[in-house]
């Protein structure tokens, strides 16, 4: 039997948070880290090594673009931007997560407070 790779495999937590952070604005690396922490209510902490490993992967796949520095100043940081392909992958992942939630709500019984 041959196993086939699904067309849209689930994204890792780091990839999902990076795509979500970039969905409505271009950000530099530290901005992505801060926004990912804010979106997860400080539950998910992204280190620079993890961030740039995932950004490199996303750029190689054409889901994220990096813009060149605007000037010669050292304060100018490279900004990262979501491509239309990145938007599509994020939408597909959000649909998948919604389906998982819907399925969970149907199958997992609602938690009731225990009687004392």
């Amino acid at each position: 039997m041959k196993l086939t790779q699904p067309s849209n495999p689930p994204l890792s937590a780091a990839t999902l948070h990076i795509l979500l952070a970039l969905v409505d604005e271009d950000l530099h690396g530290y901005g992505i880290i801060q926004k990912a922490a804010r979106q997860s209510q400080q539950q998910y902490r992204l280190g620079p090594g993890t961030l740039y490993d995932n950004l490199k992967k996303l750029m190689d796949q054409g889901l994220v673009l990096d813009s060149p520095k605007s000037g010669n100043s050292e304060d100018d940081k490279r900004l990262y931007r979501l491509t239309p392909g990145g938007h599509a992958v994020l939408s597909a992942e959000l649909d998948r997560l919604k389906n998982v939630l819907r399925e969970a709500e149907l199958t997992v019984p609602a938690r009731r407070p225990k009687r004392v």
């Binding site: 690396g29 530290y30 880290i33 902490r45 280190g47 620079p48 993890t50 740039y52 490993d53 940081k77």
Partner: protein, 137 residues
């Protein structure tokens, strides 16, 4: 050299150990993030993330090289070289500093007492036994 500067030096050495292509592209930004985040008490996490990043990036390069190398061709430089011993020392130091930083954060009261509090006369008196043993009555 204080702890912050020592951690920064370790992190720069960790960045130097990344594969050249990755380092040239992201090294400067990673150091910038380290400077911003380490001042907010995340030094241990950043160092461990750096060690993890070095391991992952080299593993990826090794996998890529093995994928293109014909069968039978092995790594040409093997053995314990001075460079490898240096890299091992940097990795070990980064892990040890990260662990020490975590422990220091977990036990602030003990360290505070050790460095800042000398027992006062009252405390010394409290430590003396108050009960007396009467003998021969």
């Amino acid at each position: 050299m204080n702890a912050q500067n020592f951690a920064r030096l370790l992190y720069r050495l960790l960045l130097r150990m990344h594969p050249a292509a990755f380092r040239h592209r992201f090294g400067e930004e990673m150091l910038w993030i380290f400077d911003l985040a380490s001042s907010r008490g995340q030094m241990a996490y950043l160092l461990l993330d750096g060690v993890r990043s070095v391991t992952i990036q080299h593993a990826k390069v090794d996998l890529d090289e093995k994928a293109v190398a014909p069968f039978g061709l092995e790594i040409q430089t093997s053995g314990l070289t001075l460079g490898r011993m240096g890299q091992a020392a940097v990795l070990s130091a980064a892990i040890l500093v990260a662990i020490a930083s975590l422990l220091a954060r977990e036990m602030p009261s003990a360290l505070y007492f050790e460095h800042n509090q000398q027992p006062t006369c009252g405390q010394v008196d409290e430590l003396r036994p108050t009960a007396t043993l009467d003998i021969g009555q």
